[in-house]
């Protein structure tokens, strides 16, 4: 029987959730400052996907750690990640393989019910050209979201300011305003696959393209998620289950990678 552990952090649970979704041989890409993303890829390479390739966007490395001990560093731009690399590219060349990449991690200050995310900011006044709040910017995710097979959307906060009905500005395209929008604009790929938060996971209805509650993270109540989500919660069949907690094997391997405890901070 599989042994589970009750001792895990929200970040560890999110990483394990993504690991389980990855298939052997896929190409998965991660930008900067995203410990969950590369923790989940390294874990997948050591669990069931030894041929998965992790592309570290900020370092321009193709990484595989399936056969070696490794350490997770705070930034994917950390040069010490060269230890896990077996090939590199120039940064502009990343746009040469996006249409063949499987998943890209997409973050955001805001994410809406169609999986659009906003890293640009809120409250822009085109006359004064001032922002009320300015985020870091849309980065390469602007390009990525129009080109890769699908996106893993993730946010580190679950509240009504983060999960909103409609983002003020779209920096990464999800399903935009609903069915047919991506096709009409000629975008490649299937759009977002999941939205993962520390409290829940959403997937998307195949026809309406609306986010629906897929699973609660272990121990989180439906009531809490309804109260803290800024878009209407819909559930297939009116019921929702929990994500399976990390197994002892998953958490043991994950912590052997996360030697600095970044996912436990």
């Amino acid at each position: 029987m599989t042994q589970h552990t009750g001792d895990f952090s929200e970040k560890e649970m999110m990483a394990v959730f993504f690991t389980r979704d990855m298939k052997d041989g896929e190409i998965v890409c991660s930008g900067a400052n995203t410990e969950i993303c590369f923790a989940s890829c390294f874990l997948a390479q050591k669990m069931h996907a030894p041929n998965l390739i992790l592309t570290l966007g900020a370092n321009c490395f193709y990484c595989n750690v399936s056969d070696r001990d490794c350490t997770l560093y705070p930034s994917s731009g950390d040069y010490r990640n060269i230890q896990w690399a077996e090939s590199r590219y120039q940064h502009p060349d990343i746009f040469n393989f996006l249409p063949r990449a499987d998943h890209w991690f997409v973050g955001g200050n805001e994410v809406d019910k169609y999986g659009n995310t906003n890293m640009m900011g809120v409250g822009y006044d085109p006359v004064t050209r001032r922002w009320k709040f300015r985020g870091p910017g849309g980065v390469g995710i602007i390009d990525v979201s129009a080109l890769v097979k699908d996106n893993y959307v993730f946010v580190m906060r679950h509240d009504r300011r983060t999960l909103v009905d409609k983002v003020e500005y779209i920096s990464a395209v999800g399903f935009i305003d609903g069915p047919g929008a991506r096709e009409r604009l000629g975008l490649l790929g299937n759009g977002p696959r999941y939205i993962a938060t520390p409290k829940a996971v959403f997937d998307f209805h195949p026809e309406t393209k609306r986010a629906r509650l897929f699973k609660l993270m272990p121990g989180v109540s439906l009531d809490w998620v309804v109260k803290n989500t800024g878009f209407e919660i819909v559930m297939p069949g009116g019921k929702v289950g929990e994500v399976e907690p990390p197994t002892l094997e998953e958490i043991t391997i994950l912590r052997s990678i996360d030697k600095l405890g970044l996912c436990r901070k």
């Binding site: 010490r80 590199r88 940064h91 849309g138 390009d143 500005y169 000629g186």
Partner: protein
């Protein structure tokens, strides 16, 4: 007429004087690595004004400093972040929220496509990324058009043409050949699209060393070469030394207070690290030999 090849080695001060008020400069590297910081500090010291600063595809705090010190009128970036130190560059955020600098909203693919357009002599390049986003609403100079082959909406990114590229490499010779000992990031394309390349190097080596490893030469024929040991500090120089986390935390704390309206610490930071040290070597003395050696050891020892 002379048959002697032109040597391009200049001082930090001479190189920084190439950058005049109102010019467009592009800063190489990516996030917290490989920036020509000795030149950037000298630009600030010179009081250079009204620059259009194009950041790397993912821009780090080097451009945040150029904004906070008042040199910048327009910033062209798709992302300006201090990574795990701070999500948004504090001076960037302050300036954009107060309307003190103009933001040329951008995407990473857009930056590279705009540079490529210049490098190959086109007025624009088409890209798909950005279709369906707010990019064209926030930047009217980036336009949607219908592709004449398949009729799909695409984005036209106008050619981006920097006057000067600041590129930092680990070693270079006096003839303007530079070699990256780690990542190249977008540096080659930046150099190819710019009128003038100022190449800073942690070490100047002989032309024979460059020739022995000719396949490693990533930047060719730069107009100016500057010897700047530890010249990317407080950022990393890949293959030579790591970023100075303590220093970056000090910068971020001071800049964040500046954003919130108390500029005392930020002014102190500028005095201590930018204005007071007369030369780059004096700056390194302020940082201290022990610290610099420790940053070097991070890379020297990580494989053991």
């Amino acid at each position: 007429m002379s048959s002697k090849r032109k040597e391009k080695l200049v001082s930090v001060e001479e190189a920084a004087r190439v950058i005049k008020d109102g010019m467009t400069i592009i800063v190489g590297g990516l996030l917290s690595v490989n920036h020509s910081m000795a030149i950037i500090r000298q630009i600030i010291k010179n009081g250079t004004k009204d620059l259009t600063v194009i950041g790397a595809a993912s821009t780090g705090l080097e451009v945040d400093l150029l904004i906070g010190s008042g040199c910048t009128r327009v910033v062209n970036t798709s992302y300006l972040s201090g990574e795990h130190f701070i999500g948004v560059g504090p001076c960037f955020r302050r300036a954009v929220e107060k309307g003190e600098v103009e933001l040329w909203e951008q995407s990473e693919g857009g930056l590279y496509s705009g540079l490529r357009a210049t490098a190959i002599g086109l007025p624009f390049m088409p890209i798909r990324g950005g279709i369906g986003t707010s990019l064209t609403e926030l930047n009217p100079e980036i336009k949607v058009f219908n592709d004449p082959i398949k009729g799909e909406p695409l984005i036209a990114v106008p050619a981006i043409k920097p006057d000067v590229a600041l590129i930092h490499v680990q070693r270079a010779d006096v003839y303007g050949n530079g070699q990256h000992l780690g990542g190249i990031h977008g540096d080659r394309l930046m150099a190819e699209a710019s009128d003038t390349v100022i190449l800073t190097a942690d070490r100047i080596v002989s032309n024979e060393v460059i020739r022995q490893n000719m396949y490693m030469t990533t930047i060719a024929n730069a107009e100016y070469v500057v010897e700047t040991p530890f010249g990317s500090h407080p950022f990393a120089s890949q293959g030579m030394y790591a970023e100075d986390e303590e220093h970056l935390a000090e910068y971020v704390a001071a800049a964040e207070k500046h954003r919130q309206g108390d500029s005392t610490d930020f002014k102190k930071y500028l005095d201590k690290y930018v204005y007071d040290p007369p030369t780059h070597e004096d700056y390194l003395e302020v940082i201290g030999l022990k610290k610099l050696l420790a940053l070097q050891r991070v890379y020297d020892y990580f494989l053991t």
